[in-house]
Amino acid sequence: MSDIKLDRRRFLKVSAASVFGTGLVLAIKWDELPADNKNGLKNASPFQPNAWLKIGSDGRVTVFVVESEMGQGSSSLMPMILAEELEVAWDDIAIQRAPLKPAYGYQATGGSSSIRKGWATLRGAGAMARQMLIQAAAQQWSVKPAECYAENSQVLHKQTGKQQSFAQLAALAAKLPIPENVSLKSPNEYKILGTSVPRLDIPGKVNGSAQFGIDVRLPNMLFATTVHCPVIGGKAKKINDRKAKQIAGVEGVYKIDNAVAVVAEDTWSAMQAAKVLEIEWDEGANKNLSSQHIKKQLENAANNHAQVKFQQGDIGSPGAAKTINAHYDMPFQAHVPMEPMNCTALVNDQGCEVWAPTQSPTGAKNTAEKYGFSKFSYYLGKVSRRLNFAERDVVDVHTTLLGGGFGRRIQQDYVAEAVQIARQLKQPVNLTWTREEDIQHDFYHPYTFHVMQGSVDANGKPHSWWHRIAAVGQASAAQLPYAIPNSKIDLASVDIAVPTGPWRSVKHHYYAFAQETFFDELAALGKQDPLQLRLELLTDPRMKKVLQLAADKAQWGKPLAEGHFLGLAVHKSFGTYVAEAVEIALDDQGLVNVVRVVVAVDCGIVINRDTLLAQMEGSVVFGLSAALKSPITIKDGRVQQNNFYDYPILKMSEMPRVDTFIVKNNESPQGIGEPAVPPLAPALANAIFAATGSAVRSLPFSQGASG
């Protein structure tokens, strides 16, 4: 393996089984192999047919995983796809983080895209290895490959029952040419996919051995924390670090790009010293920014500056018997993954090494290249490595487990800070933010304002629909899934200094809330049943099916317990259809108690059933936190929330029962990490509307319903 050239490209043709349409041939690019010998390891891996797996002479199959593991399960689900085609026993699977090599492309995990992106490649990779192992066995037995099959980490000969294990065949298979074509199994032959095999990352997560970014420990390592200007976009002008440096264990205070860093022997001392830094800030242009001001700007933009995104019919056409107007607004939300932002870095003459809990190792590498060196020394390093044929690049990124991501860790600000600090030190440094910095310096789910106008005809059926959205940053919309004769969606992107970014389910969260909640208002205006009206107007049969399933399982239309009410919503995102029915109980004081959430999901082929259920449960909780808990608010240019005491998230006693029902089919598999978030808030709002007759038009609901 050692002489494989880095720029070699291989292509493999994969013909998918007939359910995906005959004649579909995918060309998959193979690149150089992530050979172990690059790390000086001489382990038993005689067979490594492509970049995605290696098989040792002990039969262990190591799958290279590109995806960042943040709890969504990709580090087990991606190997399941490969294992299915390889016909390997799940117990023989091990995983290894894929290195930052061209074979794996741009490494970033987000947008519920892992399965969609890896589905063809990993099946092809597994099938290729299986085919070569079968070939090796056939050659040994002097029989035709077609007479052999693989099962449970063995190759067997149909006629004679002869068998050899993958371990025995690996060395011979490695000598065979890479096949040009492989064929894939059809879904009715699946043994692993759709089952609930135990996840590989869980054992380490029950005994403290799982290593997150914050847990990286290196010889001679220092610890750091950073302080940012409380006013968004502000910078340090003058730093008085006299008191900070008096704290035992403090090594130094450094001004870096957008922050002030304190370095100490331990994190606690760094955080204590950060508290007594006297910093004079240049607060910049945003010191008068406030949520009220932002809301006004958004309202103005939605009303006056929104551009047409989608249009059919004419919303002004005659035929409206009754019209309704409503404003919806949703505040900024923070991600608050339980592991605060952190990164470990070492910059020395050999280059830069980064250990990061990041959703994007490639993004982290690019960031470290930018901030870890002067341009001159970076290019000098590049050139000298090339001349010396060095295996390691100037920057190497080690991706750890992520203690939650939710979109926050697609950003690289904490990497930029860690490498800047490391540049000053020449020894490794573990940077950890306080929770306060984490909450106040996030890339927030954007504040949005929605102007809704709808009308019904004389029969109470929707006649027109007009949804205008203004968002901080880039405004975005999904499609209107309802066949309403006259409909229009307009967008206005408003440039405001508050940093925004992807947050679990991104645009779908705000879009679905306004759409699905207003739908019930429109249904009520026309005296229609919200379920029946949706079923009438939905055009996509898969959407109807999940909706009907959720409604049936929640006993829609049947008598509920005294004081209980139901609300429904349905939304498609990241390729997956999810309907939710939320059952609430109103107590004597009119307080809402969420009793049960029924989730119906169609994500196509299910990879791991239990992980699908877990993602539905987790998404419901994420949605409930946004619907019921505190928003992020801005005053005097500052985020007003500090920690979990004033930015609470859902806790155990507030957890409703979640029952998930899966629509089974053989459609290609889609995302599962995010699609169950968007329907939650509107389904809950619709339940409250059903209970009280007052529409809920703002998140979080604790701020009160508007009539």
């Binding site: 990352d201 051995s209 339980m338 203690g403 929770r435 449960e617 998230i649």
Partner: protein, 160 residues
């Protein structure tokens, strides 16, 4: 600065730390026992839960020096081989997602079950709610944690 001895997972450790340094940071940064997590620093999220004489405490707000000489158990010392009933239940029900809060969840649940075992009663959802409200999970594993505690309770009864 003070010098004192901490008894952690049955082993004595000589500590040299500031008087106000919380147990959490002594564990993580001085002893490299990183299974106990930092989540909020103010005792609101429970990721830092450890046992002191069997009682669950927030190690992020507890000065280490205050527990010198006491028996401290961290997630690393809950069992030698991940065979504590709570750990087995957590694996059986595939509870962790990102896993970051789970040391805190497991330590809090284990203390609850130990206390409950001495009373030999069934654990009510209300007890679980009040106790487990101390530990936050952003991934949303609460439903499984509730089931996990009941399963662990059953396992403990069968074991005893």
């Amino acid at each position: 600065m003070a010098q004192f001895t901490l008894r952690i997972n049955g082993q004595d450790h000589r500590i040299d730390a500031a008087n106000d340094m919380p147990l959490l940071w002594v564990l993580r940064d001085k002893l490299n026992l990183t299974g106990t997590k930092f989540g909020c620093g103010v005792g609101t999220c429970g990721a830092c839960m450890v046992h002191v004489e069997g009682e669950p405490v927030h190690s992020c707000t507890l000065p280490a020096i205050a527990v010198k000489g006491k028996n401290i158990t961290t997630i690393e010392g809950l069992s030698a081989d991940s065979r504590h009933a709570v750990q087995r239940a957590w694996v059986a029900l595939q509870i962790p997602q990102c896993g970051y809060c789970q040391s805190g969840q497991i330590m809090t649940a284990a203390a609850l079950l130990e206390q409950n075992q001495s009373t030999n009663s069934n654990i009510s959802d209300k007890t679980i709610d009040t106790t487990m409200n101390q530990v936050l999970c952003r991934c949303g594993t609460y439903q499984r944690i509730r089931a996990g505690i009941q399963l662990a309770a059953k396992m403990m009864k069968e074991d005893s």
